[in-house]
């Protein structure tokens, strides 16, 4: 089985951990996040005939990207950029995060996940902003860690992009 290291990226309180903890196989408790700063979980997805074992590195959310350690990103085959639909600034910081990450580990596949779609009435992000990102080649997904909406699709798409021979 193919294994891939995936990083969960996103600023504070965007719901990275909720996404991971509810929809993946978990071995370690969440307390590792605050103590070690990272937690590794597993998500198995099927791409065509192939099973892919995604090892998700969930990094403890911090507003200041400068503090994220390069060692966490090293060896990643792709990443999930999580933003909070109810807070516009998370997208802005997300874009900065994406740039920094690309600087550190080069161009690798990623997906943008706009979380908290269950609170859509409180959203500060409108569809046009997301669509604009889509035009830049950012595959964006609206998800809800609460209902599970869009989560599978996001991971599946990322796995597919990673396995594309040309990527």
């Amino acid at each position: 089985m193919i294994q891939k290291k995936i990083c969960m990226l996103g600023t504070f309180a965007v719901g990275k951990t909720s996404l991971v903890s509810r929809f993946v196989k978990s071995l370690f408790s969440d307390k590792y996040l605050s103590s070690v700063g990272v937690k590794v979980d597993k998500k198995v997805v099927a791409v065509g005939q192939e099973q892919v074992n995604l090892l998700l590195w969930d990094i403890y959310g911090e507003d200041d990207f400068q503090k994220i350690r390069p060692s966490y990103l090293r060896g990643s085959a792709g990443y999930v950029l999580v933003v909070d639909g109810t807070r516009r600034e998370t997208l802005e910081k997300g874009i900065i995060l994406q740039n920094k990450t690309e600087e550190l580990i080069g161009k690798v596949p990623f997906v943008l996940v706009v979380n908290k779609v269950d609170l859509v009435e409180k959203w500060e992000l409108d569809d046009s902003a997301i669509a604009a990102l889509g035009k830049r080649g950012w595959p964006a997904f609206k998800t809800s860690a609460k209902t599970g909406e869009g989560v599978e699709n996001a991971f599946l798409t990322l796995a597919g992009k990673i396995l594309e021979p040309s990527s």
């Binding site: 294994q3 891939k4 071995l27 590794v40 597993k42 090892l55």
Partner: protein
């Protein structure tokens, strides 16, 4: 070519210009005139080594890459040349290689030294740690008990460990390359554990370690520890239960080195497919297996040794206990025999039954009330009075000792009298007052066990005293001057002494029922006529009697005579003899009733 072709043309043209003598050759010439020139140029190049070398140099690197990808023939071919080149280079000028290797050698040596130091410190701290723990104390006791050095005991004990799992982890991504486990548990989710191990190492490195190359090599989780061995592309992590010896570090180092050697290519190209690392399984399993065997070998032997030690200790305690019990039992028996022996030799004591019952000694028998007390005899025998059950019945013993003792008791014999029973007779010796002697004679008939009383060797103490006084009085002589009946002051003092003795004599005779008579005899020397001498001797005697004050001496009858010179105290030869005869002397006569007088005198 062109030339030869032209020559050919010329010659052929000369020989047979009009007709075509060789049409085929002509055709060939016409057809390949251009190529012929090319071929000759190629020939030229092939023959020219300079041009050839230039051509090869253009393709050599690509050719080497192609060949190296196909097989390792190039390496094999180059190896001796390269080696020789290095040897030659060093021989010629070592500095070149030294300069080239310097940046590599420094860190390599440092790493070797620091890893050697680290394993030494590891074993040191292990020893220290165990020195101050409860277990450490136990081991110290064991070392003391078995006489082994402490270090050896610790070594024996620390060998109890097992490598439970070994992870081979891709260094960069933290992805799991291979995993082996000694137990069924923990096999699942090894991929997540692998990621987490990497994350934690990164975290520690980022937080505490500074330099590149510093990394977390060991960490402890409860009784398990994780030992990490880092290679350039992959990391080996061994999960160990218990305390492993530092030799394990070498095993791990060699394993990661071997994997890098065998699978360098696969490691470099790794992109998530762990299948090629199936090959490394035996190497990882060797890390598990070797350590498990050690443990399996050790435990039963140790158990057996411990069992033998426990058994030996128990036997020791038993033997010592038995020896102590035997010693004390023997001592008690010896003391008991000694006590019985003393009872047997004790007059008036007869043992009729003795023995042990209910852990207590008992003795029963007969005892004369006058015999020694057997219960009191327990004191100093090694037993306390409470240790022995005693039952003594009174009786009268007829042994000589007891007869004598009873006689003494019944006769109330004074200490100056010794009594002994001999052949049915009671023999009294020593001295006793006259009155006791009289009473004993009559009372001895009542004593059981004697038929005769013999007090011939018993002295009458009163008679002895009376004799003493008598001799003292009779030993004194009162002297007078020539022709005088007057007393000198010295003689008066002597008379008073006589008077004092007389008083005591008188008291004693009264007590023992006897009477005493004092004869006072006056004398004169042979000088002068007998009439005169008689007269003066009588006067002298009277004078002494008067000085004795007879009224103060009751109970003693006085008889006064004057014998002149008829019975001189000494035959007169010298003047001294005569002086002695001018004197008064005394004689004491003691009288009892006649019977007694006849018996004693």
């Amino acid at each position: 070519m062109d030339e030869s072709a032209e020559k050919g043309n010329g010659s052929e043209g000369a020989k047979s210009p009009p007709a075509a003598p060789d049409p085929l050759g002509e055709l060939r010439r016409l057809l390949f005139v251009a190529e012929e020139a090319q071929v000759s140029r190629i020939q030229e190049r092939l023959d020219d080594p300079e041009i050839h070398a230039e051509d090869v140099s253009r393709v050599l690197p690509e050719a080497m890459v192609l060949r190296a990808a196909k097989d390792d023939a190039l390496t094999q071919v180059l190896q001796p040349t390269v080696e020789e080149a290095i040897v030659t280079s060093v021989r010629r000028n070592p500095q070149v290689l030294v300069d080239a290797l310097f940046p590599v050698m420094g860190p390599a040596i440092r790493k070797a030294i620091s890893s050697a130091l680290a394993s030494m410190v590891e074993s040191f701290s292990e020893t220290l740690e165990h020195s101050f723990s409860v277990q450490g104390v136990r081991w110290r006791i064991e070392a003391w008990r078995t006489g082994k050095p402490l270090a050896e005991v610790i070594l024996l004990r620390t060998l109890v460990y097992r490598v439970e799992q070994v992870f081979l982890i891709h260094r960069e991504s933290g992805l799991l390359l291979q995993h082996v486990s000694a137990t069924a548990a923990g096999v699942q989710d090894a991929d997540m554990v692998s990621g987490m191990l990497t994350a934690i190492r990164d975290f520690v490195h980022d937080s505490f370690g500074g330099k590149e190359g510093d990394s977390l090599d060991t960490f402890q989780v409860g009784e398990r520890s994780v030992w990490i061995e880092q290679g350039p592309h992959a990391t080996l992590a061994a999960v160990i239960r218990g305390t492993a010896p530092r030799e394990l570090r070498t095993v791990l180092t060699e394993a990661i080195e071997l994997i890098h050697l065998e699978q360098a290519d696969a490691l470099q190209k790794f992109a998530g497919d762990a299948t090629p690392f199936e090959r490394s399984r035996p190497i990882l399993e060797a890390c598990l297996k070797a350590q498990r065997q050690q443990k399996a070998e050790r435990v039963p032997g140790e158990r057996r040794r411990r069992a033998v030690r426990v058994l030996r200790a128990a036997l020791g305690v038993l033997v010592v206990g038995l020896a102590l019990w035997a010693f004390f039992a023997a001592r008690r028996n010896r003391r008991w025999e000694a006590y019985l022996g003393r009872l047997a030799s004790e007059p008036g004591v007869v043992v009729t039954a003795e023995g042990r019952s209910g852990g207590k000694y008992f003795v029963a028998g007969l005892r004369d009330p006058l015999a020694a007390d057997p219960v009191a005899m327990l004191d100093g025998s090694g037993f306390s009075r409470g240790d022995v059950e005693s039952d003594w019945k009174p009786y009268q013993a007829l042994t000589p000792e007891l007869i004598a003792a009873r006689a003494r008791y019944l006769l109330e014999a004074p200490d100056t009298v010794k009594l002994a029973a001999r052949d049915g007779a009671l023999v009294a010796t020593g001295s006793a007052p006259n009155r006791w002697i009289e009473e004993a004679r009559s009372r001895s008939r009542l004593i059981v066990g004697i038929s005769r009383y013999d007090d011939r060797a018993l002295t009458d103490a009163d008679s002895t005293k009376l004799d003493g006084f008598r001799q003292r009085i009779e030993g004194r002589v009162i002297l007078f001057a020539l022709g005088s009946a007057e007393l000198s002051p010295a003689e008066v003092i002597r008379i008073r002494e006589i008077a004092a003795d007389l008083k005591q004599l008188s008291r004693l005779t009264t007590r023992v029922g006897r009477t005493a008579r004092l004869e006072v005899i006056g004398r004169g020397d042979s000088v002068g006529t007998e009439d005169v001498n008689l007269g003066i001797s009588r006067r002298r005697a009277d004078r002494v009697v008067a000085a004795l004050r007879p009224e103060e001496i009751g109970g003693v009858t006085l008889a006064v005579t004057g014998v002149g010179s008829a019975r001189p105290l000494r035959a007169e030869v010298t003047e001294g003899d005569r002086e002695l005869n001018r004197s008064v002397s005394f004689r004491v006569i003691l009288a009892d009733d006649h019977e007694k007088e006849s018996v004693r005198r």
